[in-house]
Symmetry: C2
Subunit: 671 residues, 2 copies
């Protein structure tokens, strides 16, 4: 349908959509950067979605049962900001739109979670939105099963571009959603045929509808500018018993001279082009000026869900007080009060029995205590359940016929899993974790970074955390991955030394609301090194004195995880030779760095020789070896300098010189 | 077909395949670890492939025109090792097989490139093989167009498992290969329906054939145990004008009591199980014992290509001497002699004209010189051609009708691109690079790590390398990514400060044969800081004195890339206040670390205050600030401590305090 026909046949709709289009043009022009074409292309679809389908109340962006709208094509952020502004989200003022992409504004180049109500997740790195949306849809199914349709029953709508669908993670998302039959997930594909480099056909000939259908999706299509056709397609997609793709055939940068070109993808800032486009739209208003009648129409859309919201509130109040409190607790992300005591009891028991177990097993022991108490956990693994020890006895499997199940078989999809975990956490009401081998941090990285950037308490269970995994060899042996996660802002990297620290780490990972955690866990068995029970969570200090020198303290050994055992052995050897040696366990460097200086100084006083022991690269240790009152002349590192190798673990530790004897030798050389 | 029927109908084939199966059982049992089921399931397919189709000569594993065989399901490494041993690859002795997964053996848990002839690439992280194979197939098409069918004309065969196909990167590979119509790429899917966690159906319902067909592949299928049917399918796939998938329906751990179970995926080490399986196979021989007749049959297969190989040699010698020398040079990975002089000329010109350009543009200027001289380069970008500045004037586009084109539109597929770059480099005869935004290192990581592990000189052009990219915001602003690549062994991270260093970095990246390079390049314009021409490649020292103090040296400023300008400005301010200040440019920390201690000491003498300036996280700098004769009391870092933000670049530098003024302040506080 050409624009003239659209304008005349669907006048009100057209002008509502034009408000999005012109706000986009104005904001991008003001910022002199941004992406005009996508909002201009998808304005009709978004308008129909918000007008006729989205269940939301602009006055309460946190309403737990709202439909979720995820702009996977995050570069088209002005589409989202326009919608939020026009429908009346309080924080999305016109001033914010005017300050698009400026310092301090909530209108970042790409939508940033936490900046404003209605931004359900951070998007921009392509494919993340669609992959995260699978987590939202899992959360919705799970919560609906738990709380009933009267409390949770909503859709997750996604707008994805060609770029999102070319990213590999989209396949993982599609495969997972198709398998789990997440029928309330609806992806609207902005099929405009254009990428930055030119036409999509330059790099792809994929029949996307056939591809989605191949993974068990229902597929619909519509003219992405015809409101009736859009409405029909969304209605059909909602009724589908499977996740649904709507192929929305659109024109990028509709109505401008850059329409259907890669130029239209970017920032359209030319004044004449903008003026001409306004004329095509029949939009005769100043920059950022939305006439009152159109504002009113949009405002009505923004209030459309208010009565639904009120009725929902009444339904919620029909629940028992206890249930309401539980619902509120889970959506607030607070832990049940009895968790602490249970963790303490586990610690006490472990201290007494002193099992020799791998920390992946220790993690499972903690989860066996946690999961029955924290009913909102959803676990899973990327096809390594038996290796990651992520499935506890009572969880049940989350599946089509068992939505109350709490364990997701994510398949061989580390990236999709990590994004889904973020989505589950972002939805609210649930806590998610999932496992893979630590070397495959690489696969999950883009989603792990987003968790950190968004401040979402996802937990990534990364087992087989060093050469200690042995025979699988260097492809599977992380060397740089502790450094990678430690270099990432707002990420806690826990590397517990035994079952006590593992329990403490889990307590911290579940108690925080704003920081994702990486659990670095050993494949190999480790002794219990915490032999005295402490009520206090010592891991909450990041590092602490595990064993003190019995005589004048000449050496401090720092270690994490599987290497704490080596440090303790080295200490024995050194003490036997009359060299007083302290062992500091460092289960979480980031938390240690946040402690008071006085505490840090107490743990790492100036003077003694310092040796750090970790079967990984040295980079994160320099700060603690050479700095914080250390000195180059009295510091050494025992760890890895290159990639690992394939052999039994003990042999690898010997060959790479990560042994108590090597520690002793270095210590003596420095004394 | 049941085993009894197979054994009787195809006796010789059966026994040849049984040799693979029993070698696998024996090696896994000896190692007490490994993966038995996959080689047992795919032995028939592999046997037919090597017997009837693979063009290879076991006596010359480096023959440039050999068919490439890539075991994407790398955990089934014993399949590959068995094939190499049985066909007579010299280094793959029975002793090596006996030492499967042991220290010093070439038979690592997963196939490691460089360990033995016939291992074309390192696999194990799932999906990498299939994604890398796309690079092999691109290389073959490109070289065939350049050198003619008589010199290069071969297939790339891949065995991929369900795990490979679930990994997102496989979709990127499939999409790219389908678009480029890489007809000599043949993927044999080990469709055994089993993953580690259980049945594939536990996590996936994807119709793989429909999925491949949706991206322009031809699709075939066969009974993966019937040699006639396998032969028929491979023959058909070879004749296909498109890349081909063969759905090989197989039974994992065929013939054992663990057949068709997830138990069969792993290490079958039970003596009784092994004995029973041998009985089923009709294999009445000792461990590791292959009867002479079967050895002979396999040896004949290994020699099958010898005459092809000899004829190829004759054809090669029909080329002119110059062409033969060029062919040899390109396959040796040597650079043309005149490259150095051309780089020097560019440096001289740039020093004189002192352009103010972004280093991404500077990189392009270098490539404009390099690409006409080094005709074996293949460039590309993941849909950011105009931003990455990776396409030079004379390259032409690599496409179906233009195989001589040297630029690949990789699409929005950073991961698939990085793997393809590795594959092109591994094939030999070409050098590959490709671009994306540096923050999307995250997407490409698994392949970038493999490049480092394999020692392949891939070049990853990572532009928009800091908050300097401005308005796109924190999702697109790398903060930890320099640390990530620097923490990775055997990786050169270049962050040139201007067009001179960019040219030097490119020279180094192309000259090395064993190390991948990351080019960290600015979006924003930077002044030329190297104002005196030097014949010598100063970047080859990793770090060097860019500006010396004009009076007593009290401060040393270290910086890279866009922050060198800030260091120079700070130096001016400090010198103006009478504080002698040296500026050290550090274009490649890894190379600097490899210099003699005396040189390092000259560049970074003990004594002065040290400040490092880099718009990224501090972690990699502690070594040079606190260590190497530095001291905590006289060191500071000016850079990032968290994620970035969305705003114009200059504003961000101000707000995050990465300014000359901040440097001066810190320096004075430390003096």
């Amino acid at each position: 349908m050409d624009i003239a026909t659209l304008r005349s046949r669907h006048h009100d709709h057209w002008m509502r959509a034009a408000a999005i289009r012109t706000l986009t043009l104005d904001a991008v022009a003001a910022a002199n950067s941004g992406h005009s074409g996508m909002p201009m292309g998808m304005a009709d679809v978004a308008t129909v979605l918000f007008e006729k389908h989205m269940k939301f109340d602009a006055a309460d962006p946190q309403w737990p049962d709202r439909d979720r709208f995820i702009l996977s094509a995050g570069h088209g952020s002005m589409l989202l900001y326009s919608l939020l502004h026009l429908t009346g989200y309080a924080d999305m003022t016109l001033e914010q739109i005017r300050n698009f992409r400026q310092w301090g504004a909530i209108t970042a180049g790409h939508p940033e979670y936490g900046h404003a109500g209605g931004i359900e997740t951070t998007t921009g790195p392509l494919g993340q939105g669609i992959a995260t949306s699978v987590g939202f849809a899992i959360a919705e199914e799970s919560l609906r099963a738990r709380w009933g349709k009267k409390i949770i029953d909503h859709y997750t709508y996604v707008i994805a571009g060609d770029g999102c669908l070319m990213e590999g993670v989209s396949q993982e998302a599609i495969g997972l959603a198709g398998r789990l039959q997440l029928s309330k997930l609806i992806v609207m594909w902005d099929n405009n045929g254009i990428t930055i480099d030119g036409k999509v056909s330059l790099s792809d000939v994929t029949d996307q509808k056939a591809r989605f259908a191949a993974s068990g999706w229902d597929v619909f299509e519509c003219d992405g500018h015809d409101p009736d056709d859009i409405d029909r397609a969304i209605t059909a997609a909602k009724a589908s018993p499977r996740p649904a793709l709507i192929d929305c055939v659109t024109n990028i940068a509709l109505g401008s001279s850059a329409q259907d070109t890669s130029k239209g993808h970017g920032a359209l800032t030319d004044a004449q082009l903008i003026a001409d486009t306004r004329t095509v739209y029949g939009w005769d208003h100043h920059d950022f000026d939305i006439p009152a009648d159109i504002r009113d129409q949009w405002a009505a859309i923004g209030r459309r869900g208010a009565s639904d919201r009120a009725e929902w509130d009444i339904r919620l109040r029909t629940l028992s007080d206890a249930k309401q409190a539980e619902f509120a607790r889970q959506f607030a992300g607070d832990m049940p009060k009895r968790l602490s005591a249970a963790i303490r009891a586990l610690k006490k028991q472990v201290t007494e029995t002193a099992p020799k177990v791998a920390t992946r097993k220790a993690s499972e022991m903690a989860l066996e205590v946690i999961n029955p108490i924290v009913s909102e956990t959803i676990g899973g693994s990327a096809d390594l359940t038996g290796s990651n020890n992520t499935k506890t006895a009572d969880m049940g499997v989350f599946d089509i016929e068992s939505r109350k199940g709490r364990y997701v078989y994510y398949g061989i999809r580390e990236h999709g899993m990590a994004a889904a975990i973020n989505g589950i956490a972002l939805h609210g009401g649930l806590r998610a974790y999932g496992g893979t081998f630590m070397a495959f941090t690489d696969y999950a990285r883009p989603a792990m970074r987003l968790a950190a950037l968004m401040g979402v308490p996802s937990v990534f269970v990364m087992t087989h955390d060093s050469i200690g995994l042995g025979e699988d060899g260097p492809t599977h042996q992380p060397v740089e991955h502790l450094a990678i996660s430690r270099a990432t802002p707002n990420t806690w990297v826990f590397r517990p030394a035994d079952a006590v620290e593992a329990a403490e780490a889990w307590e911290l990972a579940l108690t925080t609301k704003r920081t994702p955690s990486v659990m670095a866990l050993s494949r190999q068995n480790l002794p219990t090194v915490r032999r005295t029970h402490s009520q206090k969570n010592l891991t909450a200090q990041g590092a602490y004195v595990l064993e003190e020198a019995t005589r004048k303290r000449q050496v401090i050994l720092m270690a994490t995880g599987s290497e704490v055992e080596i440090a303790l052995k080295a200490r024995e050897l050194l003490e036997a030779q009359g060299i007083g040696t302290r062992v500091v366990s460092v289960p979480c460097m980031e938390i240690f760095a946040q402690q008071d200086e006085s505490y840090r100084k107490k743990v790492l006083p100036a003077g003694p020789v310092r040796i750090a022991i970790e079967a990984a690269c040295r980079m994160p240790w320099d700060r603690w070896l050479l700095g914080e009152r250390g000195s180059e002349k009295k510091a050494a590192f025992v760890g890895m300098t290159g990639f690992g190798a394939s052999a039994p673990a003990e042999r690898l530790y010997q060959e790479f010189g990560i042994t108590a004897e090597a520690v002793v030798e270095k210590a003596k050389a420095l004394l």
